[in-house]
Amino acid sequence: MKRWIPPNPVATLLPFLVLVAGCESAPEDAEAAFASTYQSLPSQPTVIRNATILTGTGRRVDGGDVFMQNGLVSAVGEDLSVPDDTLEIDGTGKWVTPGVIDVHSHLGNYPVFAVEATSDGNEITDPNTAQVWAEHSVWTQDPGFITALAGGVTTMQILPGSANLFGGRSVTLKNVPARTVQAMKFPGAPYGLKMACGENPKRVYGGMKDQAPSTRMGNVAGYRAAWIAAREYLDSQEGGGGDAGPTVRDLQLETLAGVLKGEILVHNHCYRGEEMAVMLDLAKEFGYKVGTFHHAVEAYKVADLLAESGTCAAMWADWWGFKLEAFDMVLENIALVDAAGACALIHSDSGISIQRLNQEVAKVMAAANRRGMNITREHAVSWFTLNPAKSLGVDKQTGSLEPGKMADVVLWTGDPFSVYALAEKVFIDGALTWDRNDERYQPQTDFELGLVDQEEALQ
């Protein structure tokens, strides 16, 4: 029996069958649904002068300039000539990097204001909920978006949680305050599929609900069954379903099929080295690619396998021990994965840590350099900029300061690898979106209005 057919297929599917039969065209396809309405904020040509610039591509320019116009990085260099109407910002003593990118956030679906009413990150009702889309949970008024912005975050991926084998579809957002999630959606960013290995699915289902999976082998059996169904679905869609006609649209299988078609990127929560190796083989069995392993605490053990398969590892600097699969932390994890030639990056999974991913990377860089690994700032900056952009499939558009890319730029008060540096100005698509020294550019969510009595706070 095909997995997606409900217990009483005729009755349940009847309305859909009727609807489809009544339409001339195919159902609205996924790409068009909930389309991005993102518009960059107003911007003007802007040049930052005489700063220390880390481009994200391994280049460092001391005393350099960054020129932004029309929302794009126009030039990076020394003593740039710019048009007369350009806004000049003195970057003397300051540093410039690409905007910080976090590939693992739950802002909006597990907001920093964490009460029952806002807990929208895990659809813990079935081990496979590939049909849910994280964007449908996003609360745009999560104050965490603003505190992340103050930490230099310009792009982030909002993921479903890790309770399920297939948690659902992720969404990549530009970190601009907005009334709708569509107005935050990164134009053209591919979707992601959240998958989870290890302890969480088996604990939630086997441990708490007394249903499959209850073991890691149960987890893998669950993935395989789903991919078999997804392949059949894809074949029936592409082949027109033969005599039976196209299969009725199924949101769960549509997302999985999107992975098989290479249109949706796999973001796989997976801690242990041997589980990553299993997941890489699973991908081979079903003909898809694992884009990024998240929470990859043991990535350093299988860094060669990651390099071989072109799979990224998203890691913390030093978190460990909160569960057994996070026991084998090494401070140098990101550096070791990077040195093996794999795509290595930081991630937060936290409304607090997302505010200082530059510091998290600094900890790793320093720990690795104490071991003689000789990692420069101009290299390490890619761990919170260009490599996360690669993980999200938006590295052609953002993640580095190269002409023609989105002007997602942070001006830091000092060396961003110092605990004392703060994001002073944050530009998204060339538009000033946050300014530490100008209250006009310090947005506040609806939720925060009136929470604190300003009269009392200012006493």
Partner: protein, 432 residues
Amino acid sequence: MRGATISFVALFACVSVAWAETVAITGGTVHTMTNAGVIEGGTVVIQDDRITAVGRGVAIPEGARVIDATGRVVTPGLMAPHTTLGIEEISLEEKSLDYGLDDEHFGAAFSVAEAINPRSTLIREARIRGITRAIVAPTDSAGPFTEEPEGPIAGQGAVIHLGSTDDFVVRNPNGLYFVYGEGGAEVSGGARGGALLRLREALDDAIDYSENRTAWEEGNRRSFYLHRLDLEALQQLVSRKIPLVVKVQRASDIETMLQLASDYDLRLVIVGGREAWLVADKLAAAGVAAVINPLENTPASFESMASSLKNAAILHEAGVKIAFTIDTVSDPHNQPNIKQAAGNAVAHGLPWEAALRAITVNPAEIFGVDHGQLAAGQEADLVVWDGDPLEVTTYADHVFIRGREIPMVSRSTLLFERYKDLDFEYPPAYRN
């Protein structure tokens, strides 16, 4: 084979001298945290378990092992003021958790001290990153999967040093822990008033018991709600020998606890204090210290709407003694990051020295232990850092706890050595 023999000999030699030796740490920037202030190019002399001299141009005793700390920074060992070190190994594995009791029978009498495992992997990780002392605190819950924790009185905490497996409890108890606010309400029938009822009843019973113990033992006094062992445990609290340590976030909840502490003449310390900055003057006036995580700046719940990165700076400015923790719930693994928290507090307005005090001498003073100062006569807990200790790029080069230099080895360093290159002739299991 020859290599293995040599390393064994070297290890043995190191251990044999480490326990009782004379060490001079020279040339560093020494932050004494005393009136002597900062000594550039200072020397610290350690003999056995104590510091015997601190200063510039101090004579180096004959035979002393000299550690050249030129260009380095020497500080007291860091003290983590709110942890579950030694009573929590893996947070989601219940068998490794001893921080709380799911038992209505006992409250105040529950003590963590005797259950602390000084061989915990967390302790070896924390100390090579500069933590030399810690408060081990009980919580109101027995673990993440406990259905219904019983009561807001969590029990008694203790102070430990992280330097050895013997004689590691420095002070027991250091305080009686109570949970107020949303957490307290949740374990007390669903309202803050329930937590207060339980605390007042405990205090009333304890006071009555202390004044009428003989009569009670002879059966000539009213019965008490509390168990005898709880009544005994509360005596140190009501006699002001230890503070009531209250986990509390909301400004109005802090004010309630200030009033209650005043009513019962209790010493009070607050832990959490996300909205403490709103009542900084009241905390200062009452001489109540605050253990906070200065990174907590988001309105995480109804009780922390005014969370702010300014919390530390405002409390300090008002004269409140502050200490920094990394998580006010339970995050024993990441305690080394208290120095990152302190550095961020500086970035948001706290004077640098005040931030270092918040992770060294302040927690020691708050909980009444001698620690956190580099001065002759003090137990020798100190760290030689490769830079500014509050920087995220700074790590410890040498760590001394009670005069013993700690081997810079933990599971994480061993795993690094095993996997630093993946070019294996034999599987990694043979790399020991």
